[in-house]
């Protein structure tokens, strides 16, 4: 099958164009041996099917990052290149175009963001550009799909330019780029558009912080309401109406006292399945990831997709860079960290956008210790809030402090480097709903595919161990720590262990224990910092590898021991 590559700089609207060109059956894969992801789909050319690959965005074919290395590798296996060029940024983009033309591979140029040129006061002579490059140039607007059918129609015209030339060095190539741009592009002055006004405000020292806080608050609000709406109106009703009757039949068939009943269906609470407390693999085990966590992941991915495509995230990275560098992180680490406030699972997965191993380790460890997910936060606010909001504030303060202090320490202790920030700040753009939904689907299916089977297996194993009385043994081992260091009653141990499966259910188990406000603060903080939930743990192991996960767990245990004791001493 013919293989077509979509190649271009980052932030030129490649993925929007990709989604316009391909139908369904799009997959994300890792390039072999790397964490660099790329998207693959199919495109119909008349009667024939061709494969279309969205190559990771690169500025150059002389690679300076892993993504660019992958791009160069992929180029060797392609039959045709669609070079996506940002029409509002011709000079920089054409540098890559000329490099592509030097390779003997047929090229067609998609001059994307064509609609943006007009209000930015840019006029490009298309015929002249086509002439100078020696390959077809088609203006496109990826977000609306304008020009995409022209692009497909002209694909067969893609060619290696006749006046083929290689440049001796990059200065010579830049000179040629300058020459082309001066021949085809005329600039005129335009007034600021409203997005440009907003752009200026968000890179302002003070305005930037204000906007960041507003954006974060809005995101948080959206994620919480969105997640709760999905749970209340979709996930829970589906489980109640469809799944519960099936499980009840299974329960009768297995007999309530049997071993498999305990493992699969779990305990019946007053003769009924309680998805929060039954703890069977097919009851709680299935309910947790699908009905309790997934809705928050969905609404989080929606919000994230919007912020991503609107061009806000790089600005946030710039704003946070100074603080994050003290913690051994790069400004971009703010993205996984924010994700963690929704759900730690995608957050840990997102740490792969960070370049060095040191950063990935620190970011993932900090997320799993100091960043409470949305469901946990909801429970903390609900339960601890009854004692007074000041106690909620103490929990948040403690978590933030541990996030900062552990980061400062890890930055000194972990070997490796943290690269300096160097990123393009794209203009604000109104995102395409279609691309956001497609991304949501891809990310979600990734989480379900990778995490779900392991969560189910773990619940099963935990259930079996529970039957053998392991938790009672653990409780008596952990009792000195709980009572001595943290001043907590012995019964809280079950809740803290259950927290490994689901943090908010564990919080719920604290409610009937009649804890004092101080004990409530300590147990909630400990619960938040101690082992991440099993789903996070699985992706943590996958992203970091077994050795680093053990280190992270070590950090976690030490941190939680110290924090719990400190709170016990001070409060």
């Amino acid at each position: 099958m013919m293989r077509i590559l979509l190649v271009g700089n980052p932030n030129v609207g490649k993925s929007a164009l990709f989604s316009r060109l391909t139908g369904i059956r799009v997959t994300i894969s890792n390039y072999p041996g790397t964490t660099v992801e790329f998207t693959r789909g199919h495109i119909k050319l008349g009667e024939e099917q061709a494969e279309l690959i969205d190559v990771p965005g690169s500025y150059t074919l002389e690679p300076s990052s892993r993504a660019e290395e992958v791009a160069v590798e992929m180029l060797k296996e392609g039959d045709l290149v669609i070079n996506v060029v940002d029409a509002t940024n011709l000079e920089r983009n054409l540098n890559l175009t000329l490099q592509l033309l030097e390779r003997r591979i047929p090229v067609i140029v998609a001059l994307n963001m064509w609609d943006d040129t007009r209000h930015r006061g840019i006029d490009i002579d298309l015929a002249r550009l086509e002439d100078l490059l020696g390959v077809p140039v088609v203006p496109t607007v990826g977000i609306t799909g304008q020009g995409v059918s022209d692009l497909v129609r002209r694909l067969p015209e893609a060619k290696v330019p006749e006046s083929h030339r290689a440049y001796a060095n990059s200065d010579e190539r830049w000179a040629r780029v300058g020459d082309i741009v001066s021949q085809v592009q005329t600039l005129s002055h335009r007034h600021h558009t409203w997005t440009e006004v907003l752009e200026d405000a968000s890179s302002h020292r003070v305005g930037g912080v204000v906007i960041a806080l507003l954006v974060l608050a809005a995101t948080f609000w959206f994620v919480r309401l969105g997640g709760e709406a999905i749970i209340d109106y979709v996930a829970e009703p589906l489980f109640e109406w469809l799944w519960t009757p099936l499980l009840m039949r299974l329960s009768v068939a297995l007999g309530p006292e049997s071993f498999w009943h305990g493992a699969l269906v779990g305990k019946l609470i007053e003769g009924q399945i309680d998805y929060f407390q039954s703890f069977g693999m097919l009851s709680t085990g299935l309910f947790i990831p699908l009905a309790a966590v997934a809705p928050f992941i969905i609404s989080f991915y929606l919000a994230l997709g919007f912020l991503e495509d609107a061009g806000y995230l790089p600005r946030l990275a710039v704003l946070m860079d100074t603080l994050l560098h003290r913690l051994g992180l790069h400004g971009y680490a703010i993205i996984p960290t924010i994700l963690g406030l929704g759900c730690n699972v995608p957050a840990v997965m997102a740490t792969r956008i960070l370049e060095s191993r040191k950063e990935r380790f620190i970011a993932a460890t900090l997320i799993s210790i100091g960043v409470p997910c949305a469901v946990l936060q909801a429970m903390i606010i609900g339960l601890v809030g009854q004692y007074g909001m000041v106690y909620v504030a103490i929990i948040y303060g403690s978590l933030f402090a541990s996030w900062v202090v552990i980061g400062l320490l890890l930055n000194r202790l972990v070997k490796g480097f943290t690269p300096e920030l160097l990123i393009e700040i794209p203009p604000y753009r109104l995102p395409s709903l279609r691309v956001i939904l497609e991304k949501l689907w891809l990310r979600l299916s990734g989480v379900v595919k990778h995490a779900l089977p392991i969560i189910l297996a773990t619940v099963l194993v935990v259930n079996i161990l529970y039957n053998f009385g392991l938790f009672d043994a653990l409780a008596s081992i952990a009792a000195p720590v709980l009572t001595g260091l943290w001043g907590l009653p012995k019964e809280t141990v079950v809740a803290i262990i259950i927290g490994f499966l689901r943090k908010d259910a564990a919080m719920g188990m604290l409610a009937p224990l009649a804890l004092t406000a101080k004990q409530m603060v300590i147990s909630s903080t400990v619960l938040a910092m101690f082992f991440p939930c099993v789903a996070t743990f699985v992706v943590l192991a996958r992203e970091l590898g077994v050795r680093d996960v053990l280190k992270a767990v070590g950090v976690m245990i030490v941190a939680v021991l110290i924090m719990g004791s400190l709170q016990n001493l001070i409060l």
């Binding site: 300076s64 509002t88 000079e91 200026d200 020292r205 860079d321 400004g331 160097l422 700040i425 794209p426």
Partner: protein, 89 residues
Amino acid sequence: MTTQQEGLLTLTEMRTGQAGTVVEILGGHGFVRRLETLGIRPGKKVTKVSSTLFHGPVTLKVDKAQVALGFGMARKILVEVDKYLPRGS
């Protein structure tokens, strides 16, 4: 409005809103190449868009694009600054 040269400043020394022409990029070959791919190279007109507190990243505008770079990197970029004299002076 007239322009006159005010000597060389590093990007970190420039004031927000100031424009100028990149004269030299101090640093290794790899660094120079990386900046080049983002459109920052000697001879280019750049405008400083913003800086952040505590030696944080500097944002600059080159052509129609904005690029943010760490303080350490920004310190290695030498710019010949345009000095705009207010009208009537």
